[in-house]
């Protein structure tokens, strides 16, 4: 059962503009097992979101390999790849087209990939993320942040992917809504046997959601931990210990 589904080997991402080169990710190697939930944590600018974007072709890969089911994924990504890997973006206010109804948002991927039974699939996808029929023909501006993020999740799931890339899916939401969306994601993963790669700066979220996690700093891997190690605060490096300390919140100096 420990079969590797998604893997990166020495992944490098470099952003170029004219002569400027910004190395964003260096030598990142992760191996995500089928059915696992894998977390990537780190401070702002550590390159954790860039890893996800590189996997789905939104950031330029300058070195290393990305493998899906042991096979290198094509560049540019093909339709078959997008059937298997989908992403949920961080900001639900920016990830839905302001002039498209929810119906349009959900029917477009079905049209692109030539799915059948579209009506049923849309209704089912909305029901699955806890949005009733009344939401189907609304525009994004008629929805709250949490509802929008549910629509984003539905959009990603409607193609029935195997891997879901989650780029800080709850960081733009209120604490109470965060829990709702996280529980929703957790439930869907159990039901569908999905594989998650989740980026977050919130260790509590990652501890709740992920079986294993990687800590990143300055575009490099710092260390890999299991959930139990994280809970037991058994970190091997100073940086991770600092992160763990910081995640406890503000403690007045003694």
């Amino acid at each position: 059962m420990t079969e590797t589904l998604l893997e990166t080997r020495d992944l490098d991402v470099t952003f170029r503009r004219g002569r400027d080169r910004v190395p964003a990710v260096r030598d990142v190697s992760i191996a995500v097992t089928r059915g696992e939930s894998y977390g990537i944590v780190g401070e702002s600018g550590s390159g954790k979101s860039t890893v996800l974007r590189a996997i789905c072709g939104l950031a330029p890969v300058s070195g290393g390999q990305i493998l899906l089911d042991g096979a290198p994924i094509p560049d540019p990504r093909d339709a078959a790849f997008y059937r298997r890997v989908q992403m949920v973006f961080q900001d639900p206010y920016a990830s839905l087209h302001p002039r498209h109804t929810i119906d349009r948002v959900l029917s477009e991927p079905l049209a692109i990939h030539g799915f059948d039974r579209r009506e049923e699939r849309i209704e089912q996808a909305l029901a699955e993320v806890g949005l009733g029929e009344g939401f189907r023909f609304r525009y994004p501006h008629q929805l709250s942040g949490g509802q929008r993020q549910r629509v984003s999740v539905a959009r990603a799931l409607i193609l029935e992917p195997q891997v879901l890339l989650l780029d800080e899916p709850t960081s733009a939401l209120d604490a109470s809504i965060q829990a709702e969306v996280l529980n929703l994601l957790d439930r869907i993963r159990t039901e569908r046997g999905l594989t998650y790669v989740m980026v977050s700066h919130d260790l509590a979220v990652v501890a709740h959601m992920c079986d294993r996690l990687m800590v990143m700093q300055h575009g490099r891997m710092v260390e890999e931990l299991t959930r139990d190690q994280l809970r037991g605060r058994a970190a091997a490096t100073d940086y991770t210990r600092q992160l763990l300390q910081a995640s406890k919140g503000y403690t007045p100096a003694a």
């Binding site: 789905c56 939104l58 302001p98 109804t101 692109i112 023909f137």
Partner: protein
């Protein structure tokens, strides 16, 4: 299914049609609150009405002269001649009414030709960037460097005077600003998450350009086209005035001013009446454009 206010404003629309109509109704409510824009809309609707029902509204024939001995240069309000008569003893009101058809045709054809060209060039350049952008925008720059009226003059003198050639000339010189506008709008949304999301669903570039980018550029381009309509009318009138647009005896407003200018001091109304018509219609389109900007421009909202 009844067309009620509640049905339109429902926040739980039950069908695609209801959602779309509800959105249109909300835009209309926003537009209705702006009385200047409503005046503009009124002027434009009036112009369209005049053009459609010109044969019914105009009391006299716009082209056939009246009695040249007794009916030339009658001042406004003489008998049945509401706005007086011109040097050919033709009723000026009837000529203005029939001239609305020419004006409307110019405006409609120019916007139908220029807007799609500008949108296509601008969104393509903005979305793909790099070499595509450089080549398309340099072509746009070349067209922008032509002085509008002079190019139109050259074009019309090459192809021969006439309203159709004037329309083509104006259309050729008026698309570059739309291309620039569409490109600028495209640049701001090209890297947004909802476009990335469409890419991640495997959408082709054409699908993204047409279904995702164009709808967001359309409102600012429509606003710009509406505001430019006054300029288009004035250019067409200017060409008519110079004798290169509509040819006599067509009742084009610019040409009417041109023929009336010889008698401006003695018979002021011959040139003034079509001038007022041009003024009102241009103002109407400007007010309409301003109103549309208030309602449609996402940046001006809130």
């Amino acid at each position: 299914m009844t067309l009620s206010r509640e049905w339109l404003l429902s926040d739980r629309p039950a069908s695609r049609r209801q959602a779309r109509m509800g959105q249109a109704y909300r835009t209309w409510l926003g537009f209705r609150g702006n009385w200047l824009a409503m005046v503009g809309l009124g002027v434009v609707v009036l112009l369209i009405g005049l053009a459609i029902f010109a044969d019914v509204i105009a009391p006299f024939d716009p082209v056939i002269p009246g009695d040249l001995r007794t009916e030339r240069f009658l001042p406004p309000g003489t008998g049945a001649h509401l706005l007086g008569t011109d040097d050919q003893a033709r009723d000026i009101f009837s000529r203005i009414v029939h001239g609305s058809r020419l004006t409307l045709m110019v405006v409609a054809l120019v916007s139908v030709i220029a807007t799609p060209i500008g949108m296509l060039v601008g969104t393509t350049a903005g979305y793909f960037g790099g070499w595509t952008d450089a080549i398309l925008m340099r072509i746009t720059d070349i067209f922008l460097a032509f002085p509008r009226l002079i190019l139109a003059l050259a074009f019309v003198s090459a192809l021969g005077p006439g309203i159709e050639n004037a329309i083509i000339a104006i259309a050729i010189t008026s698309w570059p600003p739309y291309a620039r506008l569409a490109r600028a709008e495209t640049l701001t949304i090209r890297d947004s998450d909802f476009i990335n999301a469409a890419r991640l669903q495997g959408a082709s570039s054409i699908r993204i350009l047409w279904g995702h980018v164009t709808p967001l550029c359309l409102s600012s381009v429509i606003i710009r086209v509406t505001l430019d309509m006054a300029g288009i009318i004035l250019t067409a009138a200017g060409l008519g005035f110079l004798g290169l647009g509509a040819q006599p005896p067509q009742p084009e407003w610019g040409a009417m001013i041109a023929s009336g200018r010889q008698f401006l001091l003695d018979f002021w109304w011959v040139a003034t009446m079509p001038g007022i018509a041009i003024f009102i219609v241009s103002l109407g389109f400007n007010l309409l454009g301003d109103g549309l900007r208030d309602v449609l421009d996402p940046k001006a909202r809130k």
